[in-house]
Symmetry: D2
Subunit: 402 residues, 4 copies
């Protein structure tokens, strides 16, 4: 990186690296085994709570929060470095209470929650006691254009009545999931970007139906899972509306910036893990008379991977820095750019590693295929690449012509 | 295509297309449901046997066999057209008794089997009563260089004793799997390409242990599955050796040509299915003020897909034709070329379709992610692309310099 | 290729290959030297007329014409094979009187010319005595959308008066160029595709001004050159209008099909030449301890090149065959597809060869850079790729939804 | 960028931007015209000396030199920002006395020159009175492997006798070129990397023969040109050897680091220029019913270009920073990475701009084709990409395994 980290961040970084080596990597298989041996896939493997306690005890907790009161006050640029490290392992983010969508939800509570809402939902989220989900995307419309969203939130006396068919509500299958933030229309006649609102729905409210989990390639992502959730005449107090009617878009925009930095840095972490595995495998395997590591074609894919990763990381750090300096809105182009560029790089690198691992690469014997499926999905999360490319093109054109 | 099909092939093609529409597509979900409702994932969904009977009754059976006695005597070029159609659906090949590895195994029996072996194994395979598997790849060595293979086949009196740790033994978990063809070393001191032999191992022989299934991007591919199989002191009669000691490579080479045509044409079929789904989805969905189908960026990906598919199909048909005209050995470069080019195209097209389907694209609501995982694996089957690129480069260089 | 050539075509092919070896390749440098030693770059090197006589004497003449009266009656599929061979050398097409834009112009004369026009212009073109040019593209508008074209053709008594600013009028600088076909508007009020007409303009008509040549990546393409030509109050007899007012689009469409086959097959020929040079160079050069030919990274680029070329050729032959069978209009999608796919392949292969030649690759010591510049330009001729991608996407979508 | 520039650098940057607008861009055509109207292409257009005086007067001079005595003491990181700006115009670097190979040669004189050599050659180079060249590459061997170089430098009494056939001696055709640094073998029996030496050859020494210029695509790059230079029994005083016999490699390595930063930043500048031109053209042109700027496919290529450029710039700045912090040797991997990544990006962006400009894009009406040819050549300068990929792969593997 070009810009130095603060002393505190450097310290946290080395502490985190040590924690990963000591506790995370050695327990990946334990987690997998506990998950397979549980009475169902939707039971949380006990090891995760053990590791959460360890992390919390070390202060490796809620690192994503730039808020000094609730978190550690790291900048986006600083946290980005830590987030990348967590991205090496699919089980890591939860261990440090840094997993989506809880991170975004906690930020929403801090910014827009009432004191009561903070007490009821933010505190147990901060302490890792409960989990949460976010219901925005709908199966029946192209949700990348958020104005398409049809779910309704209708005022009825002191309550709002919610009717919506949502999917990709990640974490909804986790037994610890207690609260959902739901986006829907409160006013179809308002201006295009003021029709939508966000509202809190305690997950045990009558009418909340978790229909099924959505597999990602063949993965169920248990015990969290991505759910299709139906909200059938769900009634919540009027005070559960966040920030006020018609403010849904505003809240949605606000949570995007840091969230994308997190997604992208984790994707870079996954790429680094893949490259490390690739190199080690290349050193071990022999074919056609020499070690893979000695073959120029292998050196080329290693080089291409390193070149891509370095650029993706610099671009993401640059975007994080811009958010820190000028805010997420000013960094809109930069944030859209990493959303496009980084998942591609991560997919490229992991794909090359799979190729070097041969058949083993597509199995669960190595964490390549699972990381790949995640990174692939990232190209769709918050809208497909095409939507972001259009945005970047439009913003660039505007700057060029002014 | 440039070269006309025979009247018979054209007839079969239209019959097959009709069968797909009437019986295959409508039963994909039935198959999935029966699989999920079975007492385990490793029970064959009953619908498959029903459909096999229908296909057999219509003469849509064993179409892959160019042998006129056992099959219908179609050329590789002719069958390629039918094989592509089967590739549209993941459940189709089995319905027509045209699924790997049974196809390759049946060809081996026809070419190299004794009358007795044919009676015992070939006949029930031809009639679809049993299934079979092929054990070559090993987890502990880079098996793309087949000289690395370590499994041992040792003569002991009238028997051979087999000790080997194999994986990617596809179909081994199918309850109907009765016979394995196993490749291993009979003579470590022989010339490099004469050390290996192939031998028949009835699957109920003591010492045959199916250790586990290998997931492919999270998919179990039940009820067939790709297995890790250990052969622990497995004893079979000496007559089970195929063609004689040291002939393993020769047999392996012989089965590659048509097999790759099949794999590639099915991958093209998968791409066509994806493109069809993409176009229909683009017509239905609307975002940012217009139908996806009306957006130039969508037209571009449709165009790129069509251009890639056409070229991939022509290249594969060209290779099939060359096998028909000059034999698999003479078509070695052409066969290697399709192995590299076609899976890439199939992956590109399916990936674009996933992108247009958004989140739905990575789930099982549409057959895209599953087809993608298959096509990705194809880049590793019979050795990774890199091995084939080296071969093509070497063969091309030889021709250029002569 | 999948479909056999006729005996006649095979004969011509071998004769042509022999001619290339005996007369064309050995004279490339002679041509270059004569061009450089001439009193200006815009004088035709004498060797070219010598070689034209030889080719004509052997019957290797006007091979592109499928018309049996004027040419040899070869199909597009058949000529495509010959055209590729000519594409190996930049000086070859003219030697066989098969160079653009004369080819397209001759076809126009045959289809739409009056007897008198044929006598005056077609005959000397057929015999190679004169050359011709085609003025359509304009510098001031995006000419890929031909409805943008502004040049005017106004009836005035028994004459038409032409005012137009054209560029990319290839061949206009050749001292032998005697006739232009000019496209312009005759009626701005007619329906969009009936506003344009084509008219014959003898090149010595007052008001025809060749302003300058247009370099192509630094090349002047002398002595033919691509010219900016201004038509200032140019008056020609009313009978010079081709086919009638408002028929310009119709004529333009008609000449596109075979013309694109020619362009693409020559681009494939250029790619083959580059691959041949690449392989020979790789055999001669040594670096870092071994011949380039022995390095796997070189084998990979050779393989990728062969794979791309084979597919591009098959796609083009397929399009040519479709024109032969169903006409250019029915083959519209196929023709657009090769326009997109083939130049890319040619550029890829030549670029790889340049890379293997190092610094020499970008000079005139080898015919790589010049071929590359040609192929690059081909991505713009008749509209940039983007226009054709949109067409293919639209046509594909239409087929998928019907 | 992530790291702030010093106040001085920021000042220089804005001064430079202003100079470019006021003096450079408006004189590009003047330069071209003077070049074309000169008595030969190898006469320096007078405007260049006028602009050099202006730049020198403003202190925009020798900015590349990190040496505080001879230059302005800017770091590589700081100069990189200025160098990018110069890269916008092909005539700019010379105006600021920052053009290759003089820059590298001046650095060599500063580091290794005797006082006398400095007085004789460095001073007039620093003041822009003379120019210089660098003779290393040879046409007869793969010079990317510098151990292949065959030119001989033989001690004979108080002199060295040089016999060598060199090419790509850039600037040798410039009438102001007075001195060459020549690399050749002094001892074939020494260790591999100690066989080579560098020696000063005044360009008017008998036996120095400039054979011809080497075109780059069709460009002659007059009046500097890339020359083939033969050194036939050229005798120079023994004191002309640089640093001592066998030190050629050491000197060659030393000049590579900053030189590649310069090349890459200029290539990024060229890409920025192309993107700017692209955007403006897209705003002006209309096709198929709307401005190009409004089309999503155009927005996509603008976005892709911006994404690529940002990453390439960050990577290059990162490498420059590493040279500043740790030296060129420690930054070897970073320097190799930009050598691979940046020219590709520049080529991609310029190529897209050409596509948007249609036919105009390949001519000299816009500075796209010329910039493209430069960037293409950059993929070969100092060895083709393949050599650097191998290096990066090797270095990465070493780090991963330690």
């Amino acid at each position: 990186m070009l810009k130095d980290l603060s002393y505190k961040s450097e310290e946290l970084k080395y502490q985190l690296l040590k924690f990963m080596d000591e506790y995370v990597y050695p327990n990946e298989q334990v987690y997998e085994d506990q998950l397979n041996e549980g009475e169902s896939r939707w039971v949380v493997p006990p090891i995760i709570e053990v590791l959460k306690e360890k992390a919390k005890a070390q202060g490796l907790w809620n690192l994503f929060l730039d808020d000094e009161e609730y978190g550690q006050g790291l900048t986006n640029y600083e946290y980005a470095h830590l987030c990348e490290i967590m991205g090496h392992s699919l089980i890591a983010p939860e261990i440090f209470n840094c997993n989506a969508p809880d991170t975004g939800n906690m930020e929403v509570f801090i910014k827009y929650g009432t004191d009561e809402q903070k007490k009821q939902w933010l505190e147990p989220l901060l302490s890792g006691e409960i989990r949460s989900c976010f219901s925005m995307t709908e199966p029946d419309v192209a949700s990348s254009d958020a104005t398409n969203i049809q779910g309704s939130i209708v005022r009825d006396g002191n309550e709002y009545v919610i009717n919506a068919k949502k999917w990709w509500t990640s974490g909804a299958l986790d037994p610890r999931c207690k609260i959902a933030i739901v986006m829907g229309k409160t006013d179809s006649n308002a201006q295009k970007h003021q029709q939508q609102s966000m509202i809190l729905v305690p997950f045990d409210t009558p009418g909340v139906v978790v229909k099924r989990y959505l597999p990602v390639f063949g993965y169920d992502h248990a015990p969290h899972g991505h759910a299709e959730v139906h909200y059938n005449n769900v009634r919540v107090p009027a005070s559960n509306i966040l920030l006020g009617e018609g403010r849904g878009f505003e809240i949605a925009q606000g949570r995007l910036g840091p969230g994308r930095i997190h997604h992208c840095m984790r994707a870079i972490g996954a790429a680094e893990r893949a490259l490390e595995l690739l190199c080690k495998r290349a050193e071990e395997r022999e074919a056609f008379g020499s070690k893979l590591a000695e073959k120029d074609v292998i050196k080329e894919i290693i080089a291409e991977s390193r070149i891509e990763i370095e650029q993706a990381r610099l671009l993401t750090l640059h975007a994080a820095h811009k958010i820190d300096m000028a805010g997420a809105k000013a960094a809109r182009k930069e944030i859209a750019m990493i959303k496009i560029a980084v998942p591609r790089v991560s997919l490229n690198v992991i794909d090359r590693a799979i190729q070097v691992f041969g058949g083993g690469g597509v199995t669960e014997d190595f964490p390549l295929a699972a990381h790949w499926a995640n990174a692939r999905t990232l190209r769709l999360v918050d809208g497909p690449d095409q939507v972001h490319l259009r945005d970047v093109g439009r913003l660039e054109m505007r700057e060029q012509l002014k």
